[in-house]
Homo-oligomer: 133 residues x 2
Amino acid sequence: MEVRSVHHVAFAVEDLDAAVGTYQRLFGARIELRGRMEDQGVEAAYLRIGDGRIELVSALGEDTPVGRFLAKRGPGMHHVAFEVADVAAALRSLASAGAEVIDQEPRPGLGGHEVSFVHPDSIQGVLVEVIGA
Amino acid sequence: MEVRSVHHVAFAVEDLDAAVGTYQRLFGARIELRGRMEDQGVEAAYLRIGDGRIELVSALGEDTPVGRFLAKRGPGMHHVAFEVADVAAALRSLASAGAEVIDQEPRPGLGGHEVSFVHPDSIQGVLVEVIGA
């Protein structure tokens, strides 16, 4: 499996507006995209920092994956996303290598990218997103 | 303050060799650099994944910052590093913006880069490293 790049690193935040402001003020971040994904229970934003990208993710409710993450661990680093040419092929490659794939099929993420997640138990506690270009 | 890029995202791991193997096997990672920093109590490796970079950090003992992190939270995401042209200038900029800088002066990190850390309490729970080119 060939990864093209680290597409983004994502942080779970309690207050999306406040967090966007922190990264703008401290690091000169620029908003690239912001949107709600009701089916995933999140409101999120991509921010460019130099030529890199971070994602800030807030929960739309307590009983959502990010809401439960925040209740358990507090705000902080949430996942890293590796960009690949073909998400479905990457999932097959990961599954055949013994990784536990959370999404069996790619699903749409922020900005319409195809995305899928790999369970942190397969990768030393790190939640990895595989994302299409 | 101007950030050039996301230099790397770092993960705390229990077993550096095993973790390097996981990223090689699952994501085609290539080792860029590996070394021990006794004064910081870590053995670490930079891995390239596509044109991105991750760092895997293991503890040289339980009574080290990463050792305590692992005991408290288990393996997982540890910090993100933003690359800047001038670390000392970035620290002054961050301090004047009210961020709590952990290292008042840049210190040498893996590969001889100047590095400094900003306290997670200043950045919604995220430990940020500022790193020179």
